[in-house]
Amino acid sequence: MTDTLLSVRDLSVRFGGVLALNGVSFDVRRGEVFTLIGPNGAGKTTVFNLISRIYPPTSGEILWQGEVLTQLPPHAIAAQGIARTFQNIELFEHATVLQNLLIGHHTHRAAGFWADLLFTPAARRSELAARHKAEEMIELLDLQAHRDALVAGLPYGVRKVVELARALCSGPRLLLLDEPSSGLNVEETEDMAWWIRDIQSELGITVLMVEHDMSLVSRVSDRVLAMNQGQVLAQGTPAGVQAHPGVIEAYLGTVDDVASLRRAA
């Protein structure tokens, strides 16, 4: 399969007595928006943390363009073309927005320590290249007004966008978005939906995201995977997964549960 970008096979991870992921498998195809949904504690973020190698899987493997990703150290993931955002924004607080974006470009640095120390022409060129990339993203995501502002002073909604821009600055092929709309108001969520579409269609970046806002999910996703308690419940189109009885049960409970509630009332 040439169009499979990322392939997760039988992935399990155990934290002490908790089986956080239990035999999860899915494929992300090149150029699609693939969404993981599920109730809290389903293991969605755990999948992300396994892909970014923050912790190792207990069993199973992750294939990136046919190669095993689980052998690489965590800092080598960005160079593979996988960038991510975090559920609870992890920006560099005491740096400006521009500096944050430039750090996103780190893997493409062309000058080493000594060149930086002497600020040689090579270091200068590398800086300018990083700046060009950062400015592209500032343009794309309308961050011009905040370019020189410290992140610590920015409102939550803007930080979300800065984090997205920083991930894009690394020039990824796969973008992992951990709850891109959490904490955003209706208009900001609207913008986010447009941007995710833009990232997919204009930049040609494949998106794997975790999201709770079902209207956003159904608007931007090509395929959806529903999880509960570390296991895959259903996979398919947004509408198909939403109608799946197992998914409804995981979110709302069974028909019997509802009936028992009714009797009590």
Binding site: S52, R84, L98, I103, L117, E127
Partner: protein, 358 residues
Amino acid sequence: MRFLFKTDYRQDLSLARHSGHVFWYGLLLVCLLIAPGWASSYWIAQLGFVLIYAIAGLGLMVLSGYTGLLSIGHAAFLGVGAYAQAWLTSHGVPFVPALLAAGALSALAGVVVGLPALRVKGIYLAIATLAFGLIVEEVLARWDSVTGGNAGLPVAAPQLFGYVLEGPVAFYYLALAVCLLATLAVLNLLRSATGRAFIAIRDSEISAQSMGIHLARYKTLSFALSAALVGIAGALYAHKLRYISPEQFGIAQSIDLLLLVVVGGLGSVHGAFLGAIFLIVMPQTIVLAKDFLPPAIAQASGLQALVYGTVLMAFVLFEPLGLYGRWCKIRTYLELFPFYRQGMFRRQKAFQRSERLK
């Protein structure tokens, strides 16, 4: 208030952002260059100390202020640099190679401390560096054949290209040159990818890592660079005092360096200089103040330590950004007058910060 009109990305890369910077830093440099012409030799000697401490402060600033790694053992690197310089110059190595070797040896010591430090953080790292500081002090005291033990070691005046730099003025120019080079190097790093990687590690290790920053390499690099700068400062310190002994590089000196960066302002190059000035001026001020204090207080033995401790606590409580932060606030107040708001520099509340993954 100044409005910058930017037309080129290169403007943001230059060290002086606008003509005001060129003018004021140029004026400062000219004043420093002609200082021996108008200041007494006492003040020139003091200024020499300020420059040495500023270099050491820059070193600790890179580590604690920019990479976010706390160290209470940095006097050890000062000691390594000082003893290396003393030993090398007494064996006929010329000043410049000896200075570079002292820096390199100190950097090596930095790597040795840095490697175990990759596994510990925060207060545990502070304790590990404290232990390292004590070990080095002990080694300096016991390794008689090289360090002269507790009796100490005399150090010759620096010899540069056949000239012996006797007297405070010649030494002052030497320290000024080294300090300028060190500052330039640190500023260069901070405006490039390496410096940003340090800042990234300071603010969020987890996301620095997922941006492709090799945490172990950059932390070790930061330790090495920091130790090298402090080692170079130590080498100059040895020449300045002309006599070194182990107790000069003990815990008290480490605390002084920590005081320097905290009072100056963590995370600013200006802070290293303001802190150095503070550290040199403070004891003199205390001595002067003793004339006006009642004898019971003036003759108390722990007066200086008490004042230092109080100042450190006051800064941590009331001005965490240090002297440089205070200056930034004053400048912003004047620029925006009368629109300055109370909360403009207020730090983010702890509950708004995200929980860390590790």
